[in-house]
């Protein structure tokens, strides 16, 4: 008897829920893609629900590859990717696809050494370590950069991401730019054929591996290193200065980088005295010509809001916002979307 009453209650709740859902008749805009910006996107959708209650967003963080595939197949209203789409993939699109950069992040060189010394790295040392040529912590190339620190005669255990990720894309993009050997031997991609090291799954896997292995060195997202209080190094940028990874130094890289008109840019090894060299942006992918006028209008409204008001929330979530100049260019591009 009791269970019956309980079932009745559930039934009533379901019924009420159904009624209220149909009563408000919200428009649903679907998106899918990158996992790296997921926290800020969900924050945006949450906040935007207060701005415009008539529209709701459903974002599936299935990965950049999935995001590109879904927007090409037009199964979603917008896609999201941590890397710009290749010419080959863009040519498969049924219409002109626009890249809308939203926020940026950075990869940091995290390590596990006794005493947590503050270390400095440059292009040569990072490439050497990841190519398997620099094997020990007291290698002359590393000690030359860190004169005040005594480094142990210990093996460097290289840790990299094993899952395909935007983080790896940024990392390998940087290595390809600074090391011709890396470019020909390994190249740039979301996952590559690593010359050395062990693979950890996800930021948490790499971070866990580094924390647990004395002498380990690897790359993780800046947000992740901050949240987990991991020591990470400064990296020499193309202007010759050592830059500490931070929201400011990422935005500096964005401001100094040469950004083409289609927004398919890379900000690794960017010029500028304060730029952190291992950074990258993330993009939303939308068609220039929207199929559904009503949805398209709402999507454009949201994109404008995100580029203006949304950007202000980036810092709180440890993402680097776009610099003012780029924001203006992005807004202009959003205006060009045809409904």
């Amino acid at each position: 008897m009791k269970s019956f009453r309980f079932a009745d209650k559930i039934f009533a709740v379901v019924l009420l829920g159904g009624v209220s859902a149909t009563a408000s008749a919200q428009m649903m805009i679907n998106g899918a893609g990158a996992t790296f910006p997921y926290p800020i996107y969900s924050k945006w959708f949450d906040e935007y629900a207060k701005v415009d209650p008539s529209v709701r967003f459903n974002y599936q963080s299935i990965g950049s590859g999935g995001g590109q595939k879904q927007i090409l197949a037009q199964t979603v209203d917008f896609g999201a990717s941590d890397g710009p789409m290749s010419d080959e993939n863009l040519s498969k699109a049924p219409g002109k696809l626009l890249h809308i950069p939203t926020v940026a992040g950075a990869d940091v060189v995290a390590y596990n050494l006794a005493g947590n010394p503050a270390l400095k790295f440059d292009a040569d040392t990072i490439a050497g370590i990841f190519l398997g040529q620099i094997k020990k912590w007291n290698d002359p190339k590393i000690t030359a950069l860190n004169s005040g620190v005594t480094l142990p005669d210990q093996e460097i255990v290289v840790v990299h991401r094993s899952d395909g990720s935007g983080t790896t894309y940024i990392w390998t993009d940087y290595l390809s730019k600074i090391s011709p050997e890396w470019k020909t031997k390994v190249g740039t991609n979301t996952s590559v054929n690593w010359p050395t090291g062990i693979g950890g799954k996800g930021n948490e896997g790499v971070a866990g591996q580094i924390k647990q292995t004395p002498g380990a060195l690897g790359y993780v997202e800046l947000i992740y290193a901050i949240q987990n209080k991991m020591p990470y190094g400064e990296v020499k940028n193309s202007a010759g200065n050592f830059a500490k990874p931070s929201i400011e130094s990422i935005t500096a890289a964005l401001a100094a980088a040469d950004i083409p008109d289609d927004f398919r840019f890379s900000i690794t090894n960017a010029p500028g005295p304060d730029a952190y060299p291992i950074a990258g942006a993330t993009w939303l992918l939308v068609y220039e010509q929207q199929k559904d006028a009503a949805k398209g209008k709402k999507l454009v409204e949201f994109l404008k809001w995100a580029a203006k008001d949304g950007e202000k929330m980036a810092k709180d979530l440890q993402y680097a916002p776009l610099p003012e100049s780029l924001q203006q260019r992005v807004l202009k591009r959003i205006e060009e979307i045809k409904i």
């Binding site: 996992t35 299935i62 990965g63 950049s64 590859g65 999935g66 590109q68 595939k69 789409m85 290749s86 080959e88 993939n89 093996e155 255990v157 094993s162 899952d163 395909g164 990720s165 935007g166 390994v186 190249g187 740039t188 991609n189 979301t190 996952s191 590559v192 054929n193 690593w194 090291g197 062990i198 693979g199 950890g200 799954k201 948490e204 896997g205 866990g208 591996q209 647990q212 292995t213």
Partner: protein
């Protein structure tokens, strides 16, 4: 009493007879037969469709790499050179390690639970083992990284190296993340299923068996070994096969502790990579067609490996049972 029940039975009997002969019940039998046939066929159809889809999804890669896909071990998404050998190796070796650890443990546990354990301890133990099966894979993986790996690296691995360092299996630097760690985590994951199934099988061994053994003056160990374990051999083997099936496809926890390096190395301290892991790792971010197709083909290979392993096991089971019957006849 007899006088009153007699006619009553006589009155009921023709009714039963009429019902049994009546055509509707035959139709019910037929319908039941068709229904079960349809269900059984649905499984077969599902397996065939799965194979078909995987084959279709990887046709480009199959055409490009052909048989080399199975015999080479380069995995380079940038140059689009793909070979699955190191993943096949990793899957088989990690599953083998898991079985070597889990099978004796599980069967011993099951034997203890059914034959030896005092009654009050049985239910709590069974519940604990079943709880082990309920731990999500990713949690087990995180536990693996943060607890198991450091412990393995500091204590059992150096010991293994000292004792067996002269064999090729325990050489080289110890990082913790390794093929052996992968095998151990799979062993933990397949332990509950092998134990539960084995326990059910041992429980279904008729008591007559045990009584007969005791009657012949067997000790408890002899009775368990001869009358129970030997009698249930076929069923226990089935339990192991179920465990193997799970081991081959285990993904999340393994990925977190195996090191994800596609290489074929004799040393179990070296990192490895499995078929299921590479799919889980790279599928979401694979953007080019060939890359995606190669991952589909990995799925096909895993599918094939599982079927092959099962077939081999069936074959083994058959030869095992024929030899035992001939021995019995002799």
């Amino acid at each position: 009493m007899n006088a009153t029940t007699g006619p009553a039975i006589a009155a009921v009997e023709p009714q039963i007879a009429r019902h049994a002969i009546a055509p509707p019940s035959r139709f019910g039998d037929k319908a039941f037969e068709w229904l079960t046939l349809a269900m059984a066929l649905a499984v077969v159809v599902l397996v065939v469709l799965l194979g078909w889809e995987l084959w279709g999804g990887s046709s480009l890669a199959i055409r490009k790499f052909g048989f080399h896909f199975l015999t080479t071990s380069t995995w380079d998404p940038v140059a689009e050179q793909f070979g699955a050998l190191s993943f096949i190796y990793g899957t088989l070796i990690s599953s083998l390690i898991a079985l070597l650890i889990a099978v004796p443990l599980s069967i011993a546990t099951a034997a203890y639970l059914t034959e030896l354990a005092p009654l009050w301890i049985r239910q709590p133990l069974v519940s604990l083992i079943e709880m082990l099966a309920a731990i999500p894979s990713v949690i087990l993986g995180l536990w693996g990284i943060f607890v198991m790996i450091p412990w393995l690296r500091d204590y059992p691995f150096p010991l293994l190296k000292r004792l067996f360092g002269w064999t090729p299996f325990f050489t080289g630097p110890i990082y913790g993340t390794s093929m052996l760690a992968g095998g151990i985590i799979i062993a933990i994951m397949i332990l509950p299923i092998i134990t539960s199934v084995s326990r059910e099988i041992l429980r279904s061994v008729p008591n007559l068996q045990r009584e007969a053994a005791y009657a012949l003056g067997a000790t408890r160990w002899e009775a368990t070994r001869i009358a129970v374990l030997s009698y249930a051999k076929k069923g226990l083997f089935g339990a192991v096969i179920l465990g193997l099936g799970r081991a081959l496809g285990e993904t999340m926890a393994v990925t977190m502790v195996i090191g994800n390096t596609p290489q074929i190395a004799a040393s179990l301290f070296k990192p490895g990579y499995t078929l299921a892991s590479v799919i889980a790792n790279e599928f979401t971010e694979a953007t080019t067609d060939m890359y995606l197709q190669a991952l589909f083909e990995i799925g096909l290979v895993l599918f094939g490996t599982t079927i092959l392993a099962n077939l081999l096991a069936q074959l083994l089971l058959q030869t095992m049972s024929t030899t035992s019957t001939t021995r019995a006849v002799q």
